[in-house]
Amino acid sequence: MARKKIREYDSKRILKEHLKRLAGISLDIKSAQVTQSTDFDELVQQEPWLSSTKLVVKPDMLFGKRGKSGLVALNLDLTGVMAFVKERLGKEVEMGGAKAPISTFIVEPFVPHDDEYYFSITSDRLGSTVSFSECGGIEIEENWDKVKQIFVPTGQSLNTEICAPLIATLSLEVRGKIEAFIRGVFNVFEDLDFTFLEMNPFTLVNGEPYPLDMRGELDDTAAFKNFQKWGNVEFPLPFGRVMTPAEQLVYAMDEKTSASLKLSILNSKARIWTMVAGGGASVIYADTVGDLGYATDLGNYAEYSGAPKEEEVLHYARVLIDCATASPDGRGRALIVGGGIANFTDVAATFGGIIRAMREKQNQMREGKMRVYVRRGGPNWQQGLAKMRALSKEINVPIEVYGPEASMTGICKEAIDYVQVSG
């Protein structure tokens, strides 16, 4: 629920549609998306230009520096594109330390060009920053000193006067077109709740602006007012973030509820697992295990908050306990059921869900030599904690239980100690 990167294909689709609507500018861009399920015959029927023009193909996977990494193929015919895709589809690449297979490509007409302009808009707290340079392209970082920037305060429109410093050095023939383009794109940016937009580069074809490479990021909390304008936009996971089935389950639950449910697996074989209430506290529990020197033993990051219903907590806890007990190895493992002192979340109710899940999963918890460490405060905490204590006796799984009087992260140390002692 926040800023989400979208594919180049979607960025261009949205830009093309709404630049026409908001600024009356028609972009002559064409793109086709290629994935595992693409049938090229069908695609050519929908996009006939594919068989009549020279093409460019590149991965559309939310990572940059594709040109520098040799992942862009230019001036191919369709057969060449198909061969390029076939060779790379599903192959792992490593980009910026993250490794993942390539699943999606974008194919576009090959546009021979000389000029490469850089153009980006970023959203800041008090307005938006527009950057522009005549020296765009893959060397942009080296040429960053040539990038001109203006700041447009919130509520101001990007008028000629504000825009002037960006384009002052452009020749007169192109200046008008580029100004209109920048202003039009800025309107699209604001109207559609973009939080970031970058063209590196765009060029001019027959004197008209033509984005060659584009990145976009939307604020997905604005979906409720933009879903029609955005069309069928996809919010892919960050590159390299391949979800495990368990993570997928929780992700799907999170999408459906008004509460927040998060799960990221760090190490499926690890022996310290967390299930923490609250956005702030959950980070601090993961921090603390790391700060105590046991980052490598940490299995996951997990957070539930926003007063989830007991049923939702039950499903969530089931998934998490399954992960935590998936690889019993005779050594002990620990589950940290942590949380701060809640403001309004009913502790007894949310614990109700966790307790039901633990009751169901008691066999695998005992098999995994799991101990549970609980710390929580807030409405009905006495009742919630009492239920936990009773459960420990009932299912014969050791559960250490602490209330608001104890330090919040004290149970991290206890969990680590147990895991250490038990092998």
């Binding site: 926040a2 959203s123 008090l126 919130t154 993961a286 957070e303 403001n343």
Partner: protein, 608 residues
């Protein structure tokens, strides 16, 4: 922003979108602090007006409810804080409207998921007009002993434990609302407590920033030290770094930025808060902690080091004489809510209503213990539903089918009977369905539709006493009562009522015994000797067969049967059945667009 205090012990707020619990918690806090006025002056609930009853200590008070922000601000011109509990969809519009009211100075936005573009517009407006936004995506904030926003600081017990009912010497600001509560407790353990605490919210662009509040705390003399809890993601903490470097903050600042764990993740991770995203190096917890430390903040090496560092900083200030610890006192006890006390098992209260026929509390509603889905899946009929809800048991199918037959036969009897006539007249007067229906139903009684009940009562009485038909009929005659269930306007011995024949046949075929019907038929035999139209009519037939059903099904005790006849079950059957017809008449008149009915003069005998 800067400037100093946002709140005082006199501060009053307007609360947008009525939520009982957070408002009650604010009022309980008020009582605990010894405030003279409630901190909520009015509630704005679009589309409703009036008053909302809430507790202020032991007393109940009525808080005015307004349908518009403008109206509320006009009435409560001294209320300068706007607490917005609108959903993320409507939070922007309502917050903007509130900011535009001259009387409003502070707007707190609780909703999580307000689009950042919308928040930016609010920020721009607030800056240009010197107003303060707290949130979005926050629980709010608190000035100890003076004013609290919504759910901040949680339960009363927690407020007492964290000594928030009176001001201390520490200013606190955090991103996380949940963690602010934790820190109030930590600060109460290690110092003389909070003076003011604000949770700015977990969004990328909070309405006011960490440094906005720290700079404000610098200007509040009662605040002697500041605690800051930041979070990875965003660059908010750097404005605090700048303020520290420029010497704008001279009070000791103890700070910790959480999220050191982000380095454990290989790809980008979205943590619980929208603004908490691992990304650039500058936005990492480590970088921000280092920058804060370099700028002169007191930064522990881990979250666990925060508590001792706060304690050490406070103790130093006490030793230096900067702080003279505030004497503590016992706040007045706030009466517990009945619902809470019951839940905790501390008190018990009698219920005021008892119900034995159904239960809607579980996953699925039940009729006398039978789930609705069971009824549908086992192909039960409306007779089975009546059996469960009226008799609280599952009668055999031959009984429930008999009930259904009775309903079918009594559903309507033409437009001229008093019930239908009344319904028609009412519908034609332009009244609604329910009015038309009940005006017809209200005619049901001793003269109209009451015969089934009476027939059953009298037949039962006579048969049980062993009266011969002759004795029974003659005794009734002596009392001047027409024998109920006997006689028909048209039907006669030679022109039998088809309905009576059908019921008779059904009873004879399926009922184990039809003692009462046979008694009724004997009565008929005798009455027919008096006049040819004194036949057993459909009311008498239903009444007597119903007695047979009760007795021969062997599912009722004698006492239950007496009660069923006594309290008018059979009348209920007629009311239920005829409702079907009366609804039909209402729709019929409305469909035909019939005008107001007026009885013709010619049809009235005017006389003295």
């Amino acid at each position: 922003m800067a400037s100093g205090q946002l709140f005082s012990k006199q501060t009053q707020a307007l609360f947008y979108n009525y939520k009982q619990l957070p408002i009650q918690r604010m009022l309980d806090f008020d009582f605990l602090c010894g405030r003279e006025t409630p901190s909520v002056a009015g509630v704005i609930n679009p589309g409703s007006e009036g008053f909302q009853k809430l507790f202020f200590g032991q007393e109940e008070i009525a808080i005015p409810v307004h349908s518009s922000i403008k109206e509320a601000c006009k009435v409560h011109s001294t209320a300068d804080v706007f607490i917005n509990f609108a959903s993320f969809r409507s939070a922007f519009a309502s917050s903007m409207e509130a900011l535009k009211q001259p009387t409003i100075r502070v707007v707190a936005i609780i909703a999580e998921g307000v689009p950042e573009g919308d928040t930016k517009k609010l920020i721009a407006y607030a800056r240009a007009n010197n107003k303060v936004i707290i949130g979005p995506a926050t629980v709010g904030g608190i000035q100890a002993g003076a004013f609290k926003i919504g759910d901040t600081a949680g339960t009363l017990e927690n407020i007492v434990e964290s000594k928030l009912y009176r001001p201390g010497s520490v200013g606190f600001v955090s991103k996380s609302g949940g963690m602010s509560n934790e820190l109030y407790r930590i600060i109460s353990r290690t110092t003389d407590g909070i003076y003011e605490g604000i949770a700015i919210g977990g969004d990328v662009f909070p309405g006011s920033t960490l440094s906005d509040h720290v700079l404000r705390y610098q200007n509040i003399p009662q605040i002697k030290m500041v605690v800051v809890l930041g979070e990875l993601g965003g660059r908010d903490e750097y404005s605090l770094v700048e303020a520290l470097k420029q010497g704008k903050v001279t009070k000791p600042v103890v700070a910790w930025v959480s999220g050191t764990c982000a380095r454990l993740f290989k790809s980008e991770v979205q943590f619980g808060h929208a603004g908490a995203k691992s990304g650039g190096d500058m936005e990492s917890a480590q970088a921000k902690n280092n920058a804060l430390q370099d700028a002169g903040a007191l930064v522990p090496t881990s979250f666990e080091g925060l508590e001792p560092l706060i304690k050490e900083t406070y103790t130093n200030l006490v030793e230096q004489g900067v702080i003279s610890p505030i004497p503590d006192f016992q706040p007045p006890p706030v009466p517990q809510d009945l619902s809470v006390a019951i839940k905790a098992g501390k008190v018990r209260a009698p219920t005021h209503i008892i119900s034995t026929i159904c239960d809607d509390r579980g996953e699925e509603a039940t009729y006398a213990g039978v789930k609705m889905s069971t009824l549908i899946e086992s192909d039960k009929g409306v007779g089975d539903v009546i059996s469960l809800l009226w008799f609280k048991r599952s009668l055999p199918r031959y009984c429930t089918k008999f009930i259904e037959m009775c309903i079918m036969l009594c559903a309507d009897h033409g437009p001229c009977v008093s019930g239908a006539h009344n319904t028609i007249v009412t519908a034609r007067a332009g009244k609604d369905l329910v009015s038309s229906l009940v005006s017809g139903l209200l005619t049901i009684g001793p003269r109209f539709g009451g015969a089934i009940d009476d027939a059953a009562r009298y037949f039962k009485d006579a048969c049980d006493k062993g009266l011969t038909p002759y004795d029974y009929v003659e005794a009734m005659k002596k009392k001047g009562i027409r024998v109920p269930g006997i006689g028909h306007r048209i039907k006669s011995a030679d022109n039998r009522d088809k309905r009576v024949d059908l019921l008779h046949k059904y009873g004879r075929t399926f009922f184990p015994s039809i003692k009462y019907l046979e008694y009724a038929l004997q009565v008929e035999k005798y009455t027919l000797t008096k006049a040819n139209n004194l036949v057993l009519n459909v009311d008498g037939c239903i009444g007597s067969l119903f007695l047979d059903l009760l007795v021969s099904s062997a599912m009722f005790t004698q006492q239950e049967i007496d009660e069923i006849v006594e309290i008018g079950y059979l009348n209920g059957l007629f009311v239920l059945a005829r409702t079907i017809g009366l609804i039909g008449h209402t729709f019929d008149q409305k469909r035909l667009k019939q005008p107001l009915y007026r009885h013709p003069w010619e049809d009235v005998l005017y006389t003295k």
